[in-house]
């Protein structure tokens, strides 16, 4: 598969050039956040308080890694189901997040917010946490350390493989009818 290398953080122009189905290799910094961290971030935004991490142009990876064995940067770190985070996503995009990484389709409100905010949702391969781990070169806690695996970690990745799942133009890799997908 021909994959396009992309340097993080992405700009609006970078995002607008992407189309659903494009394979990409991401390199640069990203933040992790899953259910509990999303809840806290959105509660903080609603309360009008400052966020503990900068979301402007950020890439947010939905993952909760396993602990690193001694001498390792991180344990298994594949994507979790993105649809669970749909209720929080428009707020995170409005706060500046530019790219999201998870697995599975998003709802119409997220698709609309991606178009409005010129942002992109990538899918990584679910269940490939031992493989994706090898693309992660650094891992530090950025916020909410008390949440353990659900804390926000700052990762540096090199050639992290993803597919554009929902683009900034309303396109979705999941949208085609099943029969068409099977024969395409």
């Amino acid at each position: 598969m021909e994959a396009r290398p992309l340097r993080l953080p992405l700009s609006a122009a970078d995002v607008l050039a992407l189309r659903a189905g494009d394979a990409c290799l991401l390199s640069g910094p990203m933040l992790t956040a899953r259910d509990a961290a999303h809840r806290r971030l959105v509660d903080t935004l609603h309360a009008g308080r400052p966020l503990p991490v900068a979301l402007t142009d950020a890439t947010v990876y939905y993952t909760g890694p396993t602990p690193a064995r001694p001498g390792m940067v991180i344990g298994a770190a594949g994507p979790t189901t993105a649809g669970r985070l749909d209720p929080y996503t428009p707020a995170l995009l409005a706060a500046g997040a530019r790219a999201l990484i998870g697995k599975g389709a998003r709802g119409p409100a997220v698709s609309a917010a991606l178009q409005q905010c010129r942002a992109v949702y990538f899918a990584a391969i679910g269940g490939a946490g031992a493989y994706l781990r090898t693309c992660i070169r650094t891992c530090t806690v950025a916020a909410y350390a008390d949440l353990g695996t659900e804390a926000i970690y700052c990762l540096t990745v090199v050639n992290f493989p993803v597919i554009v799942a929902h683009d900034a133009h309303g396109g979705s890799v999941y949208a085609a009818p099943a029969a068409a997908r099977a024969s395409s």
């Binding site: 064995r69 979790t80 649809g83 697995k103 269940g127 781990r133």
Partner: protein, 280 residues
């Protein structure tokens, strides 16, 4: 009467849990290789190649196959002539889960309460199912179950008039609605009959079978193959990005049920299907 100490149960559960999370079972690996050869689309083939490479890396690096090391489901066949000493069975099993989680660098994925949601910090408790059997057997199966596939599992109280067609429709709906979330290609466990509580348990137990092991009743063996063909004809494919392999196998378990009921449960398992067994 055979005597088994809880220390032995604890150590066995710990070792089984670590092994299950890291090592993909041989039957699943063989099925994934066969699926890769069948797929014609480059993307589907590529995904299955990555999934197989993931299994090799997990084994090499002693890292879990998936970061979601799951809720630890433990199935115990407990012989009538087995006497457990040293404490309670469920305490020994939960201690084993704690020990295996620490030793294996597994994720702590359990919260203490569904609404308070504070992580227990030790990955316990698990879910324990004890089945009484004859003799001196003590057989423990550990099956860590990730939430991606568990959340896409469903149960329905169909009417007897819905019959086999109704069951087929419910199974196909469940797979379609799940999309990419349960990480296809999936294993499909189906519980038919029993009641509202028993059908999901049958579905979960069905997932403990080895790929290719058919229901001994020819009616259900044939139905398993029919459903597998129908599921793969949906075209979702690996990660629901298109392809021929949406499911690797379908397993049906049945139980008698009420004259007015046709309970059906579909329990999905991801391609990183994990289970290990030991007999003490």
């Amino acid at each position: 009467m055979k005597t088994v100490h809880t220390d032995q149960i604890r150590a066995t559960v710990a070792a089984l849990l670590e092994d299950a999370c890291i090592n993909l079972p041989a039957d699943v690996e063989v099925a994934l290789r066969a699926a890769r050869e069948c797929e014609t689309q480059p993307r589907a083939r590529h995904i299955l190649e990555v999934v197989l490479e993931n299994a090799a890396m997990a084994r090499r690096d002693r890292v879990p196959l998936c970061q979601d090391t799951g809720v630890t489901n433990v199935f115990v066949e407990l012989g009538a002539e087995v006497c457990i000493v040293g404490g309670l069975l469920d305490d020994a099993i939960n201690d084993g889960i704690r020990e295996g989680t620490r030793q294996g660098y597994l994720r702590c994925s359990i919260v203490n309460d569904p609404l308070r949601r504070v992580n227990t910090g030790d990955n316990a408790p698990g879910v324990l199912v004890v089945q009484p059997v004859a003799g001196t057997t003590l057989r423990i199966t550990v099956c860590p179950k990730g939430a991606g596939c568990e959340n896409m599992s469903r149960v329905s109280m169909l009417s007897p008039a819905d019959g086999r067609d109704g069951v087929t429709q419910f199974v196909l709906d469940t797979i379609s609605k799940g999309g990419a979330n349960p990480c296809p290609p999936v294993m499909v466990g189906i519980g038919l009959g029993g009641d509202f509580a028993q059908a999901p348990l049958l579905a979960k137990k069905a997932l403990l079978r080895t790929i290719g092991a058919r229901n001994p009743d020819p009616l259900y063996a044939e139905y398993e193959m029919e459903l597998l063909t129908a599921i793969n004809a949906l075209g979702l494919g690996p990660q629901a990005l298109g392809g021929l392999t949406t499911a690797l196998d379908v397993f049906i378990e049945t139980a008698p049920c009420h004259i007015a009921s046709l309970p059906v449960a579909v329990c999905l398992n991801c391609h990183a299907t994990r289970h290990t067994t030991a007999t003490l």
